[in-house]
Amino acid sequence: MSYTRPTFRHPEAHKNQLGYTRTAYEGSISTLCAGCGHDSIVNSIITAFFEMSIEPHRIVKLSGIGCSSKTPAYFLNRSHGFNSVHGRMPSVATGANMANRELIYLGVSGDGDTASIGMGQFTHVVRRNLDMVYIVMNNGCYGLTKGQDSATADKGSKSRKGAPVALESIDLCELALGLGAGFVARGFSGDKKQLVPMLKAAIAHKGLAFVDVVSPCVTFNNAPTSTKSYSWVREHMEITNTFDFIPLRQEITTDYPHGSSIPVTLHDGSMISLYKREDKEIITNRQEAINALEQARSASQVLTGILFLNPDSSDFHDINNTITTPLNRLGEKELCPGNDILQAFNDSLR
């Protein structure tokens, strides 16, 4: 068993605009089970940040507890990080984001961490539209504690133990839509071609970007009878739309026929270019998105893609009209503006 990964890399490995190779975005070697979907999501996260040429020191990775929540150790070794208690990642993210809005916040959670113990935190962070990417690595079970069914396990699905799930499942995307999230997407760990641009779009989105990634647990929940297994997802995956993420200032060179692509501009000027189907309504219409999810559910399909996008959403800072400067850069003058200002403020409250 190897406890370290060889340090040699491909001599012709690509470099990004910052001159970094992927190595600058890597973390320690994974300790998850071999074949865990979470590892593939980790890799997609590395690819997304690497290809977007974001400096690692501008990123904050936060997580709760679970195999999924362990993964920030496996990527972005040179970024900020906080591993919180079970289900409490959103409050730590909120505090951090309030203190410094200039950083990029990436919350990593599991279906247990989010849909059970952290449900209250999850709903409120979505409602607040905190500017962050919220990823759920969704394996339908509590992987870390040996595979108990989670609240996202589909009714009737059977894990390795063989007993069908008796309860209704929670669809976190539907929930996020209901709570007013401005970016809702679902991916599959086994489809990086879709997942990487999806993560890039989520990173570019302003406000909370919720990304639910179905991620098979090879050890406890990969029986063919489980709706979160590699084989089941591959057979039942329905792609709502295919898209490219086009970063700001990059020429649009993709060569699909004109007219079949629908550009959606994100707040930072980058673009999502949807193509293949005329699903314009779905992506910016919340009602349609919920319908599509419900239809897929009744047809036993896993609907993937960017399900809903509101490019003009206002984040928590906008809503609260907070100061643009990070708190750590405020000096004594701004923090203690003097007695006159205090008096004026007090008067305004009388």
Partner: protein, 624 residues
């Protein structure tokens, strides 16, 4: 070990020796066909060093034995394939090293050659362990002309099969150019004597030293069943038409003759100022020897730019380390003799110019000729073949280059019982090429004497061994260390320049040798992919440190190579392509910079990847 074509389950198909193109592009669909890993040449090619070695020595296997301090076994493995491990561990031209994979992932290749010396230096007595020469003879007599590495290899291989061998050489001891040309400071005489002894002192071979074969026809008429000609390329080139050549004759020497003179002690000293003309390894040996015989001011002068010199990089470095300047782009114009004494040489300064086919021309810069003063000159400007012992009316045919017409695979000449090998076959080469010719000639002679088809060559012996040892543990040392190439310690320069018999290199001490051995990437431990077990979870893609593995749509090879996560632009390295997977994609592994670290197999949940040691041993005479 099992023979390739004995196996009914056809794990391997016999293919003969020459590698076949492995990837065949299917024209209709324009996709790459799944790699046939049952063809032993596929995995053989992955073992870069072994594939590059003319004799196909199982390099990673002997390096592993050194790591485990099994020096004697490592030596014997080498002896089996290259016959002269102690000699080659010092002076091999080492084509394996430029090929070594390690040189593609970091600065320097593994010191493969010097590790061979480690095995030789630390071995126990191997004499009792060598395969016995049978007492009973098979009744076939073979004559060998020349006692260089080519003939000696034929002799060793055939003696083991019960042949009676007569070995002729005009020198007093065996070794050919190994003994007469390679200076002792690179290769001590005892090393030569010992390894010649392993061949000559065990029966089966009658040596006829100090015997020049003046006419090959005499031997043919003696009724030998076969004759092997391994007489080398013995004639050093001269500059007969250069002005002043005859006046300067006393002071001008042909490099190879002069080196032989030194070895046989006819030459004991040289003047203070020496010019060595030529840019090959002979020039390097001449100048370094001159430094040891009293030459204080020794200079090498080459026609071409230094970057295009024929000498190996390390030989040039060694010469420069002994304060020998190299003057390049100088073409000799004349020997300058004053009052019967050579005082120097004049040279024309030139510049290389290349035409659109990349062919070089040396063009005069038009400057004044350069005068370089000197007392003696050594000419090391190449060697020529010469066959004065083969009469012009002989049935042995020669081509327009003066070389015998041979079947390149069997080394058979136009006279069916006469075979050629070593420098005598295709012009000057090196020891390891001569050894490989020896093996092939021995195979041919054996087939010939048994009346069999010379083109039905014996197949290599191959075997596969799973490296898994329990749960995620490997039998082989899978860890990839970061240490750079270890430096071989040398004798103090002042001391070594004082005495030409002192060997410059001291060889790796065993601890350093082990560190160097650990640098080997175990390229013989193959990554084997079973597409029927793969669930396409991407774990191998995610973990692979060097981004070798891809899951992607199949396509035409060139296009596919460009489409990989890191484009596979080193076309000398193959793509390993699987059958089509359930998602319609294929697994494509670029073999180029695989570290053989086994991470893919460790992270694979279904054991679709396994690490399997592939041992490939070239056939020798008598193998079937």
């Amino acid at each position: 070990m099992q023979k390739a074509h004995d196996r009914d389950d056809t794990v391997f198909e016999p293919t003969g020796r020459r590698p076949r193109p492995i990837i065949a592009t299917n024209r209709e669909q324009l996709t790459v066909k799944p790699t046939n890993i049952k063809n032993p040449e596929y995995f053989h090619k992955v073992i870069d060093c072994q594939f590059a070695c003319p004799a196909h020595t199982a390099v990673p296997e002997y390096i592993r034995l050194i790591l485990h301090e099994q020096y004697t076994d490592a030596y014997l493995l080498n002896w089996h394939s290259n016959v002269f491990p102690g000699i080659l561990g010092r002076v091999c031209d080492r084509p394996c090293e430029p090929a070594c994979r390690r040189g593609r992932v970091e600065e320097d290749p593994v010191a493969i050659c010097r590790l061979k010396r480690v095995a030789a230096d630390h071995r126990d007595d191997v004499l009792p362990l060598l395969p016995p020469v049978p007492r009973g003879k098979n009744g076939k007599r073979v004559a060998l002309v020349g006692a260089g590495p080519a003939s000696l290899t034929v002799a060793r291989d055939l003696a083991l099969l019960g042949y009676e061998l007569d070995l002729y050489d005009d020198q007093s001891k065996a070794g050919g150019f190994i003994r007469s040309q390679i200076p002792s400071f690179r290769l001590p005489e005892e090393v030569i004597d010992t390894e010649m002894g392993y061949i000559l002192d065990r029966g089966g071979i009658t040596t006829r030293f100090n015997t020049y074969v003046a006419d090959l026809q005499d031997l043919i008429e003696q009724g030998y069943d076969a004759i092997f000609v391994g007489t080398g390329a013995p004639r050093g080139r001269d500059l007969p038409d250069l002005p002043g050549r005859s006046e300067a004759d006393k002071f001008v020497h042909i490099g190879i003759d002069w080196l032989a003179g030194v070895v046989f002690r006819h030459v004991e000293s040289i003047s203070r100022r020496v010019l060595v003309l030529g840019g090959g390894n002979t020039a390097m040996d001449c100048c370094r020897t001159a430094r040891r015989l009293g030459g204080e001011d020794v200079t090498v002068v080459v026609r071409s730019p230094q970057s295009e010199m024929k000498a190996s990089e390390w030989e040039i470095e060694d010469a420069m380390a002994e304060d020998i300047p190299i003057i390049d782009n100088h073409v000799p114009l004349e020997f300058v003799v004053d009052d019967g004494i050579l005082v120097g040489m004049r040279f024309d300064r030139v510049e290389p110019q290349y035409d659109k086919n990349g062919r070089r021309r040396l063009v005069s810069t038009g400057e004044e000729p350069v005068f370089l003063p000197c007392d003696e000159v050594l000419l090391a400007i190449g060697q020529q073949n010469a066959f004065p012992f083969i009469a012009p009316d002989s049935a042995i045919e020669f081509n327009d280059k003066g070389l015998p017409v041979l079947d390149p695979n069997t080394l058979q000449s136009s006279v069916p019982s006469v075979f050629f090998g070593g420098d005598a076959a295709f012009g000057p080469g090196n020891i390891i090429i001569a050894v490989e010719h020896g093996h092939q000639a021995a195979i041919s002679i054996d087939l010939f004497c048994r009346g069999e088809d010379l083109h039905r060559r014996p197949a290599p012996a191959v075997s596969l061994a799973d490296q898994k040892l329990g749960f995620h543990d490997w039998i082989y040392d899978s860890q990839v260390i970061e240490d750079g190439r270890q430096v071989v310690p040398t004798v103090d320069k002042a001391k070594s320049l004082h005495d030409r018999l002192i060997e410059v290199e001291l060889g790796f001490p065993s601890t350093v040798g082990k560190t160097e051995a650990k640098r080997c990437l175990n390229c013989d431990v193959q990554t084997v992919f079973d597409y029927s077990l793969c669930i396409e979870c991407d774990a191998c893609v995610d973990i692979c440190p060097t981004t070798c593995i891809n899951f992607t749509d199949n396509g035409e090879e060139d296009e596919l190579r460009e489409r990989l996560l890191v484009p596979a632009r080193n076309k000398t390295q193959d793509l390993y392509v699987s059958e089509t997977l359930p998602t319609g994609r294929v697994m494509v592994k670029d073999e180029d910079v695989c570290l053989h670290c086994g991470m893919c197999a460790e992270r694979c949940p279904t054991a679709a990847w396994t690490m399997v040691k592939f041992v490939y041993q070239s056939a020798l005479a008598g193998d079937s």
